[in-house]
């Protein structure tokens, strides 16, 4: 029994370290993208076989096999990416092969649209819940905001580790759970459950917390996996994340929450471009340990969110509470959490409220509403904590809460 406890304790300590270590290891797999023709008439259309099949998938598998054989690779998995007009094939390198060398060679192959290493990512929770309770609802006047908006008719894709819907605050709050990590069953995990609670925890049920957007519809897309029992540290990779992003685009969500970070990745950049082109708000946690905030927080067009005490100095970074946030955990448990992962979750919830108030809001309008302005109407040159009341007032054109400060920041006379 003692051995089991020692092992569990060791895993808790080593979990976050293992996630970072995975990112420093050279990739052993590459992602090979093959172009997929748009749907079109085929020989058998209107004849014997049906109106459904896409036999060109077989053709791309042939091509992928030829490529794998030619370069000494082994096909591990594949996934269609219709948002980009591509099929993505995962190929394992043979021992001794360099991912960068292979991707360079593949890039020269006319059959290949693009290729890149399969890269490691990790979530951004600090596993240190030892601070006094400090409700996140207070500075954002959530109770007053919920009187006018609670996220109704807004769908949020949470790309994270698994969410446990058995927590009373999350029961009935998750529209769909999907596993993109492996072929196994969906799993309930810490980080995903913690992020989900901050966004959509049931309000007024007598237990736990209230989410920032308790009536939003959440797609719990498991693209990351918990590294150790009892630790929120989770790892993801560019393939699992790409699959989840592709699914979110298929579902036409309004918001994507990415409480994770990793290296620059071309495939993910292209999927983010597709999302932004569809006016999807992509809310991303900033990695304080990376000078540029890490990817995808550093990517143009996303809403990068850091904790209020973050050293992030980039002008476009949004600041939100990131310490001592009470949230849900698997089972009927709650705890305090810390990290920019949870600041991003808060902003995803707030964006859902803004979307409910203004369903046709553009990303530019969203950006303007969330970025604090000075009393003179000038955009602040430094990151500033989000003023939720001012953001809602700017979108709805009426004061909901904290009216004196809101009118001052908007430069409007008090009505």
């Amino acid at each position: 029994m003692m051995r089991i406890w020692l092992l569990a304790a060791a895993l808790c300590v080593l979990g976050p370290w293992a996630a970072v270590r995975a990112e420093t290891q050279p990739p052993t797999q590459v992602l090979v993208m093959l172009r997929a023709a748009a749907p079109h008439l085929r020989a058998a259309d209107g004849y014997a076989v049906g109106y459904t099949a896409s036999p060109d998938e077989n053709a791309r598998m042939h091509t992928a096999r030829e490529i794998a054989q030619h370069y000494g690779l082994h096909i591990v998995d594949s996934w269609p990416m219709p948002a980009l007009g591509l099929d993505c094939f995962v190929m394992r390198l043979a021992p001794g092969m360099s991912a960068s060398d292979v991707t360079q060679q593949l890039a020269q192959d006319a059959r290949v649209e693009s290729a890149e290493p399969r890269q490691a990512f990790h979530t951004l929770a600090k596993d240190d819940p030892l601070y006094a309770l400090q409700p996140v609802a207070k500075p954002w006047h959530l109770a007053e905001l919920h009187a006018v908006a609670s996220g109704r008719h807004v769908t949020i894709a949470e790309v994270d580790s698994g969410v446990d819907t058995s927590n009373p605050d999350l029961t009935g709050q998750v529209l769909e759970q999907r596993n993109f990590v492996d072929d196994g069953d969906y799993r309930a995990e810490l980080h995903g459950t913690e992020v989900a609670g901050i966004i959509v925890a049931r309000e007024g049920n007598g237990v736990g917390i209230a989410g920032v957007a308790p009536q939003a519809q959440l797609l719990a897309l498991r693209a990351c996996w918990q590294l150790a029992q009892g630790s929120a540290a989770s790892a993801c990779d560019s393939f699992t994340l790409a699959k989840a992003l592709q699914y979110a685009l298929e579902k036409h969500v309004q918001i994507i929450n990415l409480s994770l970070t990793g290296p620059d990745d071309r495939l993910l950049q292209r999927l983010l471009d597709a999302a932004l082109a569809q006016r999807v708000a992509v809310v991303v946690a900033v990695d304080d340990s990376a000078a540029d905030g890490g990817f995808p927080a550093s990517y143009k067009g996303v809403l990068a969110v850091a904790g209020e005490r973050s050293p992030a100095q980039a002008r476009d970074v949004l600041l939100a509470p990131a310490e001592d946030i009470p949230t849900t955990q698997p089972g009927a448990r709650w705890n305090l959490v810390n990290g920019s992962s949870f600041a991003a979750a808060e902003v995803s919830g707030l964006v859902a409220l803004l979307h409910e108030l203004s369903p046709d809001i553009t990303l530019t309008q969203l950006h303007d509403a969330l970025h604090a302005r000075t009393a003179l109407g000038l955009v602040s040159m430094r990151p500033k904590t989000i003023d939720a009341c001012a953001a809602v007032a700017q979108v709805s054109q009426r004061c909901i809460c904290d009216c004196a400060a809101t009118h001052a920041s908007l430069g409007e006379p008090r009505r």
Binding site: L34, R35, A36, A37, A38, P39, H40, L41, R42, A43, A44, D45, G46, Y47, A48, V49, G50, Y51, T52, A53, P55, D56, N58, A59, R60, H62, T63, P82, A83, L84, G85, A110, R111, E113, L249, A274, Q278
Partner: protein, 230 residues
């Protein structure tokens, strides 16, 4: 027309970018084309191939099937080539030509141009044949096809088509219109695809539309098919 299609195929094969090629063999309990049996309500075997040049948008392909026309066995040869353009992630447009002929005493050869839009799984196309089945008059055919994924590897699909012929139909004392509907379920077990569907046709009789099908074929049928792709 056949030469044009062949020329387009040859030109496409000459394109440097590598093609994505696939083939399929299909057994079908009844070969139904736009609601009409071309196999005299009997089973048929078919071979098809498709080639895509995704970087250019061009595609081409062909099919061969045994048929039973005018109560005698024959083979159908079909070739097509077209161009498809993705307008956004959900929407694409296409246009192309298709040429069909049959072996035997009568070739019933005809060419058809088509254009269409695809929105996710929903496909709408319009076809124009200036000399449908070489019967001496033009036809327009419009179709809508849709499918939806069910649980696991199952899916459901549906098709509705509407055909209008030109020319004089007074001698037949019938309508110049014909509609056909098909609905069914399918099971994908790569590389196998299995379907069961029900099809029906209403309106003008086969003879008024130039179809060379054997007399007395039914208008309603259950169709079972098994396809193997490689």
């Amino acid at each position: 027309m056949f030469r044009i299609v062949v020329a387009v195929l040859v030109a496409l094969l000459a394109v440097q970018a590598r093609a994505q090629v696939t083939g399929s063999a299909t057994f079908v309990s009844d070969y139904r084309f736009r609601g009409t049996s071309l196999s005299d309500d009997r089973p048929a075997a078919q071979l098809a191939f498709d080639a895509d040049w995704p970087s250019t948008g061009w595609y081409a392909g062909g099919m061969m099937s045994n048929v039973r026309l005018d109560s005698s066995h024959a083979a159908q040869l079909l070739g097509y080539a077209g161009y498809v353009r993705r307008l956004n992630a959900d929407l694409s447009w296409e246009g192309g030509v298709r040429y069909t002929r049959f072996t035997g005493g009568e070739s019933y050869a005809y060419a058809e141009a088509y254009t269409g839009l695809t929105f996710r799984q929903l496909v709408g196309r319009i076809y124009y044949a200036p000399n449908y089945f070489n019967a001496g008059y033009a036809t327009w055919y419009a179709e809508l096809n849709d499918s939806i994924a069910l649980s696991g590897k199952w899916y459901a699909f549906a098709h509705a088509g509407y055909l209008r012929r030109a020319g004089d139909v007074a001698e037949y004392h019938v309508s110049r219109f014909r509609s056909d509907v098909r609905a069914g379920i399918g099971l994908t077990l790569q590389p196998w695809d299995i379907q069961l569907s029900w099809t029906t046709a209403h309106g003008a009789p086969d003879v008024a539309l130039g179809y060379p099908s054997a007399a007395g074929t039914s208008r309603n049928a259950w169709v079972f098919s098994v396809a193997y792709a490689w």
